[in-house]
Amino acid sequence: MGSYLIRRVLRTLLVMVGISVVVFAFVRSIPGDPATALLGERATPQASAALREQLGLNKPWFINYRDPANLLDAQFPKYVGQLVQGNLGSGIKSNIPVRDELAARFPATAELAVAALLFALLIGLPAGIVAALRRNSVWDNLATTISLVGVSMPIFWLGLLLAYFFGVRLGWLPPSARLGNDTVLEPITGFYVLDALLRGQPAAAWDAVRHLILPAIALGSIPLAIIARITRSSLLEVLGQDYVRTARAKGLAGRTVTLKHALRNALLPVVTVIGLQAGALLGGAVLTETIFSWPGLGSWVYDAISQRDYPVIQGGVIFAALVVSVVNLIVDLSYAALDPRIQYR
């Protein structure tokens, strides 16, 4: 187990190095550069060239072969030098250190992702279980239909619909943002619900929860559908296996068999899916965050891409890759906890 962990961590590090190189080359090979994007309609060739020079974008990417004396003048050595010191640079236009912005925005995305996942599990798991146990019943059909709709509904459409109905027509929930206009909350962890509780502000916590509900439903709709479907099929498969029949034959009560023996084994693929969904949640967050004015990573990196803000894109991608790697590591480790047959060496 210990050596497995070390190997996994080393492999993750290797992946991160690879990703930093790839993202560096990749963002620079997208046509259109930050100077042109920043200047917008004002981007004449002269203006773009002048700005490019001021921003140091006219320097070669990798090795300055024309001028070996200024080898380190190229963009890549500079970038690596910064990375090694844990410095991701600053946004080209805003001059905000990428690290600060990551620290401010990641908790927002994580809070939303956790809420979305909770929502997906709380509804998806029971729905899948009921569908499997009452196969071909009304419940099964309902669950299957809902999950189909959930998968095929575009997030931005669902999000706007939710905001309009629950935010505007019914007025039950705020249509967007993380906190109300009058709520003052000094962040600690960046998870607002938690922070409000830590600060002893129950009203602020409730406000934060209310703001979480709609975006969490929008973001959680697809994982919900997937979790319900996987749970159903996996549980059905397990229920048909010999050991379940044996357990039943031994006279164990139906509920004990289903919940204790079958479900535990059926959950394995569900956990895998949750791990994979971590990446998908970060991706889906782009749309959800944009619609719900959620100040998270997704909307930030998305803007940076359209602005070609290299340091922000690099920092965002590297960080997202790190998060996905860590989540997957946790998922792999949790297999062993769920299934004693799985051992890591």
Partner: protein, 525 residues
């Protein structure tokens, strides 16, 4: 008992005007450092914190005193002297005086200024664009800035410029506290900093991607704010801004889509607010294209596009189409010899095309922008409408687009686009700001047409001192550009804004942002 209850109830109600004003902006500011931004949201927030030397009268592009109470030039407009308002202090207590102004201007314009932070990637690119360059550049408008005495500064210019006060009045050039910049260093303007100006509101906090919170400046030299606080929320999605307005979670908002007008009008809690038009959306025709080289073909293209119908369809009640490159507020710069409206005449266009030698038409590319701008909120369907009009006279149009940054780059790369959609929103109230962006020495080379005569006239326009001279020069420019048919103005649109009915006294500026100190809130829940 009843009376006591009523009194208690009344006491619980907020008094008139005592409320927080919440504005829905279409995104986050980029930076709160003046001189170093070009985007509308940064300007909007800065407008609350900072004052400029010269200001604009409510709802117009006419000049009015700001931090300078008066200004005058020498005879040929190469020297501008500004008299500063006395007893004005920055929010941190620093006195606003000639030293402070020289400090601000120097850091924008002098690349070697120790507080310009060029080493940190600071660019102040707007100075290069609006004022021709930086200290020492031959093309720079400003040659020198001099403190005459504590309350007077003088700008020496390299070239005559009668519009200098207009330029310096643009929202980019707010005057910041030198003390604050010296203390905060390169951090100044970022969310971790504390921007300090002399404006009607004092910066409190900025949570990026979410909101900027401001408190009223009770010691403001001008009209003091009438609200207890101001929150500028970042709400990128236009439908969501409308949702928030309808839900009452924001009080007023900018940049709604033209389609939202009906929905706003149908809601009795909301009023539609039309910003005066200060933009132009147009189609550029490239002289490098073998067909478009032909003057008759260009005229035919112009006559075939039904601009009025397009405006009616895409900006119902929110736009006008005329034959001028400058928006209606600058109509004094238009020539009387040019018809007010384009003539839409597909039959004549067809004849022209035949005369040009293309009775059966030809095939051509039309590029549309991938992004929404106030002058073209939905470029693709507009491009489709243009294509349909042109196909009616036999010109087959291939619609094309690509990512915005690439679009901006490719239009300037030879051979450029055959025909493409673009536009402009003005920074200050002078026709030069519109024409020089697309014609003349500093313009892009996207259409390969920039006659020396036009360049000379543009220079004369910038130098002309009297309004009568200016009007004459711009009338000529109007005639030349109108007759050449290289850039076909399609629309001057009015960006749609809206407010809850209790928001009183909001007069939107054509320039896109205004200080919110005159707004009061009456009867907000």
């Amino acid at each position: 008992m009843k009376k006591v209850l009523l009194t208690a109830l009344l006491a619980a109600l907020p008094s008139a005007g005592a409320a927080t004003l919440v504005f829905g902006a279409n995104g986050d500011p980029v930076s709160l450092e003046p001189g170093n931004i070009t985007d509308g949201i940064s300007i909007l927030v800065q407008r609350q914190i900072y004052d400029t030397l010269v200001d604009f009268k409510d709802g117009t592009t006419d000049l009015t005193p700001g931090l300078a109470t008066s200004w005058k030039s020498n005879a040929n407009a190469t020297q501008w002297t500004f008299t500063l308002r006395q007893n004005v202090r920055f929010h941190d207590g620093t006195p606003m005086n000639a030293d402070a102004v020289v400090f601000n201007v120097s850091r924008w314009w002098d690349p070697k200024h120790p507080y310009g932070f060029r080493d940190q990637g600071r660019t102040f690119e707007i100075v290069g664009q609006l004022l021709g360059g930086y200290r020492g550049d031959a093309t720079a408008v400003i040659k020198n800035i001099v403190k005459v005495n504590d309350n007077t500064v003088r700008f020496d210019l390299n070239q005559p410029s009668s519009v200098f006060p207009n330029v310096i009045a643009a929202g980019y050039f707010g005057i910041a506290s030198p003390t604050a910049i010296r203390q905060q260093g390169a951090r100044y303007g970022t969310p971790a900093s504390k921007p300090v100006g002399t404006g009607p509101f004092i910066f409190q906090a900025w949570r990026t991607g979410d909101r900027v919170t401001l408190t009223p400046n009770r010691a403001y030299w001008g009209e003091k704010p009438k609200v207890d606080g101001l929150v500028v929320r970042a709400i990128k999605d236009p439908s969501q801004r409308l949702n928030e307005l309808k839900a009452g979670t924001i009080d007023f908002a900018n940049d709604l889509t033209p389609e939202a007008l009906r929905s706003v009008q149908a809601d009795r809690n909301l009023v539609a607010v039309k910003r005066p038009s200060f933009n132009v959306g147009f189609v550029s025709l490239n002289n490098r294209n073998q067909y478009l080289k032909n003057e008759r073909v260009r005229r035919a293209v112009s006559m075939a596009i039904n601009k009025d119908a397009i405006v009616e369809a895409f900006w119902p009640g929110l736009g006008i189409s005329n034959a001028s490159f400058v928006p209606p507020v600058l109509a004094w710069a238009n020539s009387k010899n040019v018809p007010e409206d384009y003539k839409f005449d597909p039959q004549a266009a067809k004849r022209l095309l035949a005369e040009a030698g293309y009775p059966n038409g030809f095939s051509i590319d039309l590029w549309y922008m991938p992004v929404s701008r106030p002058y073209f909120p939905s470029p693709k369907p507009i491009a489709e409408a243009i294509a349909a009009d042109l196909s009616a006279i036999g010109i087959k149009v291939n619609l094309k687009t690509e990512d915005w940054a690439k679009y901006l780059e490719d239009r300037n790369k030879e051979p450029g686009f055959d025909m493409y959609m673009i536009g402009w929103t003005g920074d200050y109230g002078d026709p030069d700001n519109f024409y020089s962006a697309y014609y003349g020495a500093t313009a892009s080379d996207d259409i390969n047409w920039n006659p020396p005569q036009l360049q000379r006239l543009l220079e004369q326009g910038r130098a002309a001192v009297s309004q009568a001279d200016k009007a004459k020069i711009y009338a000529q420019i109007h005639e030349i550009t109108y007759n050449a048919n290289y850039r076909l103005p399609v629309v001057h649109s009015q960006p749609l804004a809206a407010a809850r009915t209790y928001v009183k006294g909001w007069v939107p500026s054509p320039l896109g942002s205004e200080a919110f100190n005159k707004i009061s809130v009456v009867g907000k829940r």
